[in-house]
Symmetry: C2
Subunit: 559 residues, 2 copies
């Protein structure tokens, strides 16, 4: 994330467009880009980032909306390129600010966001579009291009204004044999290129990966093999939005005479939506309620569940711990048909090891070809740059290393350095006369949601929790006779998460007594000052013990 200090921005030239990425540049997740022209705004995607170890207690991390303050009425639309959480998860929080912002997206994307908004008790104003559509929304002339990704119905979006045309690929790859036959539409992109793409915002996730991402279809043999070779039940875990992967699993199950039960709230909900809208095709009678599977012999059973990232509360983790009604054991195969999102490795390996300990065979991307990425590799990106010859390229959707690798790919196709804009969240980029320029920086902090509440949890609070995690807490209770300036009784230490704090009682007591003996009358009559005196006296002693330092809470009571 960028930590540059936001400053005053120059006024936007009426003949220019302004592009402000507020998420997804420097980390993968909470993607969001604001496009401005002639006083009007359109927002491209609004996702969330999932918290890591350094964010204890945080549910999700939002983009920083603060640069939109005073501009809510100027927003013509939110355009969603596809239905993944890192592109749509922030919409409920955006719509809290102004619920009637039109939400533009494809059929499946709108179904997913509408379902999510229902949980937030928001009824969105939706505008359904399809690949090939061109539509004026406020000040912006939008055109939608089919792209292939790890969720169906993804769109790239072209935004035209009198100042030029930008194209945002969204997340995409160029699978030449997609399960649904829906290719990333290079001919459509070529028509846009003929007109001239002034700024091309391009998915950077796999820019470091050489060559071409293999086809989703190439997973069929390994998935089929799992079904062919499993004596008892097959339990598949994948992303609840990966409709094509689930389609392959359903097809393989049907081909091997097995029934399928969906397990886990989001899996059940998404597959219902996908089936209703025709994105998931289920042969008659193959999908049944999970409890019906209990009555079938094991070799006719398939469960498809959530938890492929080792989420502790998801179905798969609970099975691994033996805390789920589905008891995994000898003869069962667990298929993790999913990626390994960086940061989740430890959790996923723990689940794999626990399932192995229960006797199950675990098939995962580490030992079989059962997953392929949803993002274009370096070869595909270069192919696009050479085909489309955009005037300027801005890598999006990646950590710093991915953005740089993607920028390097653009340069390798002969683009001039001034036409490749590698920036971080909050950078303000103006486009005029086909030229781009970074003109400033707006706030792009991490905004934490905890228990549904936005922005109350801050970095100071997280630092306190991390300190508590590392060192525990010692509460020092001091009953003070402030007239005499002494302790009325020995200090008491209460500790949580600290090794043998009680050992330090005597030394803390002496330290507090010494500090009290030197205290001024002003300190002795000021509760806050007394608290601080006791806390510091205790910290001095505890620091000498070495090791992780506990947080000290002082409670002073007048005798």
């Amino acid at each position: 994330m960028s930590r540059s200090t936001p400053g005053r921005l120059p006024a936007l030239n009426p003949r220019a467009m302004r592009i402000t990425p507020l998420g997804g540049l420097g980390e993968i997740g909470r993607n969001m880009t604001v496009v401005e022209h002639a006083g009007r705004l359109v927002i491209l995607d609004c996702g969330v980032l999932f918290p890591e170890e350094e964010h204890p207690g945080v549910d999700v991390i939002l983009p920083d909306f603060s640069s939109l303050a005073g501009r809510w009425k100027d927003i013509d639309a939110i355009v969603l390129t596809h239905g993944h959480e890192d592109h749509i998860g922030g919409v409920p929080y955006l719509l809290r600010e102004r619920p009637d912002i039109p939400v533009v997206g494809s059929r499946l994307t709108l179904a997913f966001i509408t379902s999510k908004l229902t949980e937030h008790k928001i009824v969105p104003k939706t505008v359904e579009v399809a690949a090939g559509d061109r539509r004026k929304v406020g000040a912006f002339d939008l055109e939608f291009v089919a792209v292939n990704h790890s969720i169906p119905d993804g769109l790239a979006v072209a935004v035209r204004t009198p100042a030029g045309m930008i194209v945002d690929t969204g997340d995409f790859k160029m699978d030449q044999f997609p399960l649904d036959g829906r290719l990333t539409d290079v001919r459509h992109l070529s028509r846009l290129a003929d007109e001239g793409i002034d700024l091309f915002l391009v998915d950077s996730t796999n820019a470091e990966v050489p060559g071409f991402t293999i086809s989703e279809r190439d997973l069929s043999p390994a998935i089929g093999e799992v079904f062919a070779s499993t004596r008892r039940r097959v339990i598949v875990s994948s992303f609840a939005s990966h409709v094509h992967r689930i389609q392959q699993v359903v097809d393989a199950a049907a081909a091997h005479g097995r029934k399928v039960g969906f397990v886990g709230r989001s899996m059940v909900k998404n597959m219902r939506i996908a089936q209703e809208l025709g994105y998931l095709t289920v042969p008659e009678g193959v999908v049944v309620e999970p409890d019906k599977l209990d009555k079938l012999p094991d070799h006719q059973v398939t469960f498809v569940c959530t938890g492929s990232q080792g989420e502790p509360l998801a179905a798969l983790s609970r099975m691994a711990r033996g805390e789920h009604q589905i008891e995994v054991g000898e003869g069962d195969t667990v298929l993790l048909a999913s990626s390994l999102i960086p940061g989740n490795e430890t959790a996923i390996y723990r689940v794999i090891n626990r399932l192995t300990d229960r006797g199950a065979r675990v098939v995962h991307r580490g030992n079989a070809r059962v997953h392929v990425s949803g993002h274009a590799s370096a070869g595909e990106l270069v192919y696009l740059y050479n085909t489309l010859r955009p005037r300027n390229v801005m890598p999006i959707h990646g950590e710093a290393k991915h953005l740089r690798a993607n920028g390097d790919l653009a340069l390798s196709t002969g683009m001039a350095p001034e036409n490749v804009v590698v920036v971080r969240d909050g950078a303000v980029v103006d486009l005029m006369n086909g030229k781009v320029k970074v003109v400033g920086q707006v706030s792009a902090e991490e905004v934490y949601v905890e228990d549904g509440v936005v922005g109350r949890t801050d970095e100071r609070l997280l630092a306190q929790r991390r300190a508590l995690r590392d060192g525990g807490v010692v509460t020092v209770v001091a009953v003070i006779d402030s007239t005499a300036g002494t302790l009325a009784e020995p200090v008491e230490l209460l500790s949580t998460g600290v090794v043998h704090a009680a050992d330090a009682q005597g030394a803390v007591d002496r330290s507090v007594r010494t500090a009290l003996s030197k205290a001024t009358p002003a300190t002795l009559t000021d509760t806050d000052a007394l608290d601080m005196l006791v806390r510091r006296a205790a910290e001095r002693v505890l620091r000498r013990r070495g090791g992780p330092q506990p947080v000290v809470v002082a409670v002073t009571v007048e005798a």
Copy 2:
């Protein structure tokens, strides 16, 4: 790790050997195996495991020595297969129990452990051995076989007793073109096999990886390319024990007219040892003190430093954060010539991104062939099983999934299931007449070292720290008039790491008053009971707020 309950063990038959793995089976790290015969013990390796997210505050994790209680005098030796921390890191703690246990190992291994023990103020009784040696140590007839690994001078060890022969591979691979020409000695192992290997303990780390691990030598082109293409400084980070990798870096630096400075305490120390003992060969004048490099032009400079796993206090992480005197920037290349140990991904990627943000090019195993594993892949393991035809195989050194995969490889070569022993730490395996049998289980808990102190930190304490991390802490101060059974003043809430705890003050106050009004006289006069009453009353209120639950500390004071 195993959590089976230890029970009473059958007496060991005088014609049998007993093998008890106390570490390394179920997780990679803290490897340790105890071998017993005729009342005497030999210990093979004694390593540490590094803590993860769920072990806040812990320095390292030791094997559980509790099953050795009362047996210390029976130990004839500790045999160290090689000098990695996960095989030698526990030795100082073992020698605290009995400092005169002979420590057996190769020259480099003994140099590394002696250096470590010096820091612990222990002078070990060492027994140097070399590949090819056969030596009687107490009741055990030991023979040492050269193996190739990511540290020089690794040994497999054969342990013969009248009850049979076991062979422990230690960590190994079968690089056919090792930099030092020291191959894993298959001919030597074959001689042992001709005699008959009753139990073969085999490194499982890469049992899931198909094919053959490529040669260390195959990294030369990519490493050379880094030096050839870098305009300014080359900064290399690798394991401080990976002498061969550092040798390649030193050679490449010399070939490109660069000097090398070692940075970081363990790197400097280990390279000094390796150079003194002749394991690292440095062309005259190539290695210099790091501060000498300041006077050279950037294109003649190479730093070799620690921190390849993203350790926050190591040199590389400090450079990435701009907190090191070596300021990394545009034109520099950082080469991470190292693996990515599971669990460290987030930290490593953060370092890579920060270095990229500073303008450096970062070359790592994700974008170039600059690292190769130190462990044998599936192809090599199968090759060994087919060549040596051991009577029994016991996979060691791996998580549950690795052990199972290794066991499956042994089965795939035609071994009978009763001859493949896949167990977890603490399993007690008896070998007699060429047959193995699991006869029981000893304690194999995780033993935590915190600030040099062994075993004080326990699971209860870690659970408290995790609770503090997730929810913070609220201290509730209640001044109670126990005679009247009421609060003498409103409760006070002090919070650390909690969102708006103060909002709950009124509700907590009411909850405590209600609880007091129902309390018995016995409770009102018992401080512990009063504390619990206040804590529970506060918890009831705070639980209703949803979200992460804070730890509540109650302080009750008599008015």
